[in-house]
């Protein structure tokens, strides 16, 4: 099993090379920049393409096959979020707000990472289950909702105990505080479910399901052939932003740097193994692992800045975008692919072919 070989050949794909190029461009202080409108458009495009593909494949496979993986993914995402919190709070000594914000950032999913994963699998000639697009949509808000709920609970508990220790307990005030957090949660729920990422993803899944293969053929030139190229352009921008933040990485501290590498690895490999156990294909298991390994850096700030404003965005954006994202697409994807190949017990031949092809 040559993990290094696969990582090496993954490094030489256009996606990774352009990402690294973007980092370099930012480091040499070039004024290179993808226009705002395009970098806002591309995530929408990527999600639409993912959704359409998912919808078309779900038409072939039906909904029943999706149920178990969906529930398992939600369960794991919640479990991992709680696990992250304990690690960050107890071992990392982060404050309550930063711990919950980081825990949910790493419990949530990254749509860009997901796109890169799909393109990686395409490169390897492996397919994955279409319903994973629906899992992506459902997982998007789950970790945030849990973290926000728990933060609100912890805060209202603190307020209560402070009031009690002060001796003057005015119930109405406490109730007011609690009802305030409740509306807050409701608002966040509404905002994250009607957020553009989920809306475009679910919309495209439904449309993909409705139009099927034959309907898709008329738009496949945009949503199929251009897909990897669009990721490449987007990753120039991601590279530039990550490059601008490289200096901040020193500020997040050794613990968080280690956390943002070790946790995704652990989550991802557990994800691959669990997915294999519940019967997902080789590629599907890699994508399932990637869903759990990825951290959110586009949706996270928008949700968390409102729901947990006390948490420092510099921590969760920098670690998710500056460390975890590059690590995931460069190193962890090949690792998960190999793990998935081993447990699916058919990879050695494919892999050998791939590597020998890569060497020639």
């Amino acid at each position: 099993m040559d993990i290094l070989g696969l990582i090496q050949s993954n490094l030489l794909t256009p996606i990774v090379l352009f990402f690294i190029f973007g980092i370099i461009a930012a480091r040499i202080k070039s004024d290179l920049k993808i226009p705002d409108a395009i970098s806002e458009f591309l995530p929408i495009y990527l999600l639409a393409a993912i959704g359409l593909h998912g919808g078309i494949e779900m038409r072939n496979t039906g909904f029943e096959t999706m149920l178990v993986p969906m529930l398992v993914a939600i369960g794991l995402s919640l479990l991992f979020t709680l696990n992250h919190y304990q690690i960050l709070r107890r071992l990392g000594k982060f404050n309550l707000f930063d711990s919950y914000a980081l825990a949910s950032t790493y419990g949530a999913v990254g749509a860009v990472t997901f796109s890169v994963g799909l393109s990686f699998l395409k490169n390897q000639g492996v397919t994955s289950e279409g319903f994973l697009a629906a899992v992506l949509a459902v997982l998007e808000p789950v970790a945030f909702i849990l973290a926000i709920f728990l933060t609100n609970m912890a805060v209202s508990k603190q307020i209560k105990s402070k009031k009690e220790s002060l001796g003057d307990i005015s119930d109405s005030e406490i109730e007011m505080g609690i009802s305030e957090t409740k509306t807050n949660l409701k608002q966040v729920l509404h905002e994250s479910i009607t957020g553009k990422a989920i809306v475009i993803l679910l919309g495209s899944i439904i449309i993909g399901y409705a139009i099927g293969e034959e309907g898709f053929s008329s738009i496949s030139i945009v949503f199929d052939e251009l897909f990897t190229g669009a990721i490449v352009i987007f990753l120039i921008e991601m590279g530039i932003i990550a490059g601008q933040r490289l200096d901040d990485i020193k500020k997040v501290g050794v613990f968080l740097i280690a956390f943002s590498i070790i946790m995704p690895t652990f989550n991802g490999i557990v994800g691959v193994l669990v997915a294999t156990a519940i019967g997902l294909s080789l590629g599907g298991s890699v994508m399932f692992g990637l869903l759990l390994a990825s951290a959110s850096f586009i949706a996270a700030p928008a949700v968390l800045r409102h729901a947990i404003p006390q948490a420092k965005p510099s921590l969760y954006i920098t670690s998710a975008l500056g460390i975890t994202f590059p690590y995931n697409i460069i190193v962890l994807l090949p690792i998960m692919f190999i793990v998935s190949s081993i447990v699916h017990d058919e990879g050695s031949i494919d892999l050998f072919n791939f590597i020998s092809k890569g060497l020639i």
Binding site: D36, S39, Q244, P301, H306, P309
Partner: protein, 101 residues
Amino acid sequence: MKLYNVKLLTVTCEILAQKNIIDILAKHNISGYTTYEVEGNGARGLRGQGLKNEKNVKVEVIMQEEKLQDVIEEIARTLFTNFAVVLYVSDVGVLRTEKFV
């Protein structure tokens, strides 16, 4: 023409605090405001680059002096600790004072 004295409140803040500001204004029955995206440097570093959610925005509101104190008190109390915010007030003259109640 006669100019009436009113106050112009200018708030420069991160784009994700914009909604909070506008909610506060609405709470004080102020529905009119102008916003625009800006870039700049400050206590929290160079802002306005990169991710859309990290942009800066400038909110301008014209209001009567009576409301001003309550509005800036609430902005200061709820947003200063957690958000990048700069706030200042200037005197301006308007022709139609009834538009800015």
